[in-house]
């Protein structure tokens, strides 16, 4: 899954930022956001949760899910 995230993050760096948090070492935020499984993706906008989804998926699906939460059309 990591190569997918890396590729998406690089391609859409001007649209959104990609961050990652290790649930094994960062229990506070893991607990605070009720993480039950990995990978879990939470989309923040202006400091607020815009949406979330769970599970590994191809990069195009991953992008589609994120842009859908952000209500951004796919760039040409």
């Amino acid at each position: 899954m990591k190569p997918v995230v890396t590729a998406v993050a690089l391609e859409y760096r001007d649209t959104f930022t990609f961050a990652k948090l290790d649930v094994n070492t960062q229990p506070q935020k893991t607990g605070e956001y009720h993480i039950r499984g990995t990978p879990t993706y939470i989309v923040f906008r202006d400091g607020e949760i815009a949406g979330a989804f769970v599970g590994a998926m191809p990069s195009n699906v991953l992008v589609e899910r994120i842009l859908g939460i952000l209500e951004i059309d796919e760039p040409e």
Binding site: L10, T15, T17, F18, A19, K20, L21, T30, T38, F44
Partner: protein
């Protein structure tokens, strides 16, 4: 009867006398003169006739002529016999002293002669001093006589005369100062020295003053050749000179007592060309009636003594340093506005400053020329006591327009500014001033600001990098050459530092990175098994 008797006696006696021979030398001269009754120098019958005419008479002692030849008081035959005994003899008349030249009591010189005059030629003349020469009625006595009092006794047949004189030495010319043949001035004096005090000194020119052995001839003399004849009791001396005018100081330019500069020249005027000019300071050059003295002179009080052959003159001046131009601000050749002022700097305070345009104000070593000046080409000549300079400027209308921002790498309101790049701001004209890069909290970030013509550059400093996605303010004020100012206030936000690589977040920075993100952010919660 008396006459007849006498006549007979006379004839007899005359006859006897003609046969008698008597030498006059053998007879006392006084007796002979008594026999020459009529005093005609001859003893003859006429004397007998005179005796006869008084024969038998008693005569007075002072009767003249006296027929009492033998002086016995009566005229008798003894008188006739006395005459008869000397008939035919000539009787030398008595010689009496008449006069002497020089007169008694006067002063003689050693070689003078004394001439005595008698009423008849004297005989048997002898003198106590000197040598007597008889010439007719004169006797000339020549020396040399001994200097001092002279008592001269002259003795002749009929008498003695004592003459008293004071004999002085002959005064001879020894030397003249200045010596004959040289050039003198009309005001000079000439001193003649004699071996003894000269007397009766006269001079053909000037005035002679005698003092002991010296005679001083003073003028003024006439310019040109001078032939001076000095005559004194004992001689004459002729001296030749060339008389030139006395050279007198007339004026000095600048006049004494004034202020001059170290490099000034002082010109002295004389009424005639001076000679042998020397000066206590500087260098003197003589040309005609003028002497020019050049320095450089030392600043301060100057006492300048000029000496020439006829005199000396001391001049006093105050010497000040020469004031030299140093610089002009703005410098010549540039553009100025009608309202600008031009400041000239000198190495010393200039004096007597004038300007062809504007108004000159002197303050210490500086002179400020203020306008307003007329637009166009300006040729400005500044003259001060020590020099003159011309400056040229192009005068334009004053710049009243403030500089404005025309470009650059950052504009007010930019939000995606590269936080690591040098910031450049471009203005409409050259500017100077103070511009800083500050945070929103007005803290100086510490970047380096440089001005380059119409550009201002803000350069990053290591350790003082800008934060991504942070707002900063470029603030300050710039001015153009005319001092027109513009406030600068450019607010911008740096771009995100995100480079496309997922950011590893932690519990500690989660809020800052995730919740503070300007861009939407997707957080992947993952397990790294």
């Amino acid at each position: 009867m008396k006459t007849l008797t006498c006549s007979l006696l006379i004839l007899s006696l005359a006859f006897l006398a003609s046969t008698a021979s008597y030498a006059q030398e053998e007879t006392d001269i006084e007796t002979l003169r008594a026999a020459d009754v009529n005093s005609d120098g001859m003893i003859n019958v006429l004397d007998l006739v005179l005796i006869a005419s008084h024969f038998g008479e008693i005569v007075a002692e002072d009767q003249t002529p006296s027929p009492d030849v033998n002086g016995d008081g009566s005229v008798n035959v003894l008188d006739l016999v006395l005459v008869a005994n000397h008939l035919g003899e000539t009787v030398r008349p008595p010689v009496a002293f008449v006069s002497v030249d020089p007169e008694i009591g006067s002063e003689l010189v050693m070689n003078d002669s004394i001439t005595l005059t008698f009423d008849n030629p004297p005989a048997d003349v002898t003198v106590s001093t000197g040598t007597a020469t008889i010439d007719e009625n004169s006797v000339t006595i020549t020396g040399p006589f001994t200097v001092g009092d002279l008592e001269l006794t002259v003795t002749w047949t009929d008498g003695t005369e004592t003459l008293s004189y004071t004999v002085r030495p002959v005064a001879a010319f020894v030397s003249a100062e200045p010596e004959s043949g040289v050039v003198i001035t009309t005001e000079d004096s000439i001193t003649l020295t004699f071996d003894h005090p000269p007397q009766d000194v006269t001079t053909s020119t000037g005035t002679a003053t005698t003092d002991e052995n010296s005679v001083t001839i003073t003028g003024p003399f006439t310019v040109g050749d001078l032939e001076l004849t000095i005559t004194w009791a004992d001689g004459t001396e002729t001296l030749s000179y060339t008389a030139r005018p006395v050279v007198a100081f007339v004026s000095a330019d600048p006049e004494s007592g004034t202020e001059i500069t170290t490099n000034d020249a002082i010109t002295l005027a004389f009424d005639h060309p001076p000679a042998d000019v020397t000066v206590s300071n500087g260098v003197a050059i003589t040309e005609g009636n003028s002497v020019t003295i050049t320095g450089p002179f030392t600043p301060g009080d100057l006492e300048l003594t000029v000496t020439w052959e006829d005199g000396a003159e001391t001049l006093s001046y105050t010497v000040r340093p020469l004031v030299a131009f140093v610089s002009a601000e703005p410098e010549s050749g540039v553009e100025i506005t009608t309202e600008d002022s031009i400041t000239l700097t000198f190495d010393n305070p200039p004096q007597d400053v004038t300007t062809t345009t504007g108004t000159a104000t002197t303050d210490g070593d500086s002179v400020t020329i203020t306008g307003p000046f007329t637009p166009g080409e300006l040729e400005l000549t500044i003259t001060w006591s020590d020099g003159s300079l011309t400056f040229t400027y192009t005068v334009v209308a004053p710049d009243t327009e403030a500089p404005s921002i025309t470009g650059g790498t950052v504009s007010d309101g930019d939000t995606d500014v590269d936080p690591s790049a040098t910031i450049e701001i471009v203005f409409s004209e050259d500017v100077r001033g103070l511009v800083t890069l500050r945070t929103e909290a007005d803290d100086n970030v510490g970047w380096i600001t440089t001005f380059d013509g119409n550009k201002v550059m803000l350069t990053p400093v290591p350790g003082k990098e800008l934060d991504p996605e942070t707002t900063y303010v470029i603030t300050g004020k710039v001015r153009d050459a005319a001092n027109n100012g513009t406030e600068i206030n450019i607010t911008f936000t740096t771009a995100s530092a995100y480079d496309g690589i997922p950011i590893e977040v932690t519990d500690a920075n989660f809020d800052t990175v995730v919740l503070g993100s300007k861009l939407p952010i997707v957080v992947e919660f993952y397990t790294d098994w």
